[in-house]
Symmetry: C2
Subunit: 271 residues, 2 copies
């Protein structure tokens, strides 16, 4: 029996483990869906690559997932979303393709009362201005303050989260531009950052709403699938599948921290 | 007029900017020599890649430099030294090829009185056991304590060095195994770490000698060139040349911090 389109998996790719926080968001919001995840660990990090290189990698990742008959493609990487989203839609106009930036920006604009919105991310994401542009698209009067926090990625991968004094100091330094009521909403513009959510929240205080782009994206995926009648039937068996392009052992170790549970089916592929 | 072999440049490669601390060591020790540097920024970091992948990249980097008529090849990357040194020597037996691990290990053994030696490096370098093996080769009775310090790379690239409280806290945590006289010598087994030398030295205290593998390597290069009559004539003009495989702007910015001076000739290449 061939799979009905609505029961097909959602394809998700990222440069590494970060996108697993997006998978976690998808699982929370859409527990019946099945995910095929590709972590392009052989070529991470995307954040320090040139745009042409990131676009080429994104197209290869998308081709790999499309060959597995996915019904929807998620770019669970802010850098790739900023650079390659348009190109991927152009190449496969019939496949719904969502990045993390538009949903995160939209939810930030909906949440903010003052219109003053903070964005944190990798150097590449921040210097691309992609969130600022997307936020302006939803509210041209919004004021955006951005800050790159490169050390957050290593801290998240080390698992040095809320109980670590160094993490707290680093967060205080990076998040200084958002103190004193200068923003009322802060976008976690890197898929690693939800791991540090607690310490970020403590530093910016209770008056700043944190936007997890992965959660925002999962909400949009849920709406899109529901509206197009593509929600998966709860009674179809199936497991999530995970692929990496290199260094599988390291990925597996960090993955459990990001996903909150062990990986099920897990393989290495060459692109 | 064709260049005499002794006036040919030294080829140096690393996965990124880290190897520039080795170039700095070479400049200090051998100011007349000329260097051609390749930072394989398109494929960094090597520390999280599989051995087969690192070996393939190292061979491509070496081929690029060999085509520029170098007289000596330096693997200024601990991961590549640990994994690919043997293979590179096999492929080009007539080209003297030095990695950073053997010189660092040798100098550590010469320096240590107690025979208890510490090694810090990336996860890949530490789990390869390459320093421990090299140290045993020089002193089978030596006792080696190793510790991976993954955050040090980001801290060095951020330029958060001695004056940063977070750096101090992170160093205290990572360097705890070396406290209390447990070692008398500590190898900086990652080319990024000399940037953090001061804070590392403060944390481990004055009774622990720090070994900079780049300095140790520069010393061996100096001896090798002198013994083979290959030291460059001081009157031959020429500048150092730097190549990267991607993201040149980011490299240039961090490079000045690592090299201690601006880059002269600088280009992007595709391998």
């Amino acid at each position: 029996m061939s799979l009905r389109i609505k029961d097909a998996p959602i394809g998700v790719f990222d440069s590494g483990v970060g996108g697993l926080t997006v998978v976690k968001s998808l699982r929370n919001r859409l527990p019946n869906e099945r995910v095929i995840y590709l972590g392009d660990t052989a070529r991470l990090p995307y954040g320090t690559r040139s745009p042409a290189t990131v676009e080429r990698y994104a197209v290869q990742n998308a081709n790999f997932l499309e060959a597995m008959n996915i019904k929807l493609l998620v770019i669970a990487c802010n850098t790739a979303s900023a650079i390659a989203h348009g190109r991927l839609r152009e190449l496969q106009p019939s496949l719904p393709t969502l990045g993390v930036i538009q949903p995160g920006a939209k939810q930030a604009v909906r949440t903010s009362r003052s219109g003053r919105i903070g964005v944190i991310g990798t150097e590449a994401t921040v210097s691309s201005g992609a969130y600022a542009k997307a936020i302006s698209g939803f509210n041209p009067a919004a004021e955006v303050i951005s800050q790159a926090c490169p050390l957050f990625v290593s801290l998240a991968e080390e698992g040095w989260t809320e109980h670590e004094a160094a993490t707290r100091l680093i967060a205080e330094r990076y998040l200084e531009p958002f103190q004193g009521g200068r923003v009322d909403t802060l976008v976690l513009g890197c898929t690693h950052y939800p791991i540090l959510r607690e310490v970020i929240s403590e530093v910016v205080g209770p008056d700043v709403a944190l936007i997890d782009s992965g959660d925002a994206l999962a909400e949009e995926v849920a709406i899109l699938l529901a509206e197009s009648g593509q929600l998966r039937s709860p009674d179809v068996p199936g497991e999530d599948q995970f692929f990496v392009t290199d260094a599988a052992q390291r990925f597996r170790r960090v993955a459990e921290l990001f996903l909150g549970s062990p990986l099920e089916r897990f393989d290495t592929v060459e692109l």
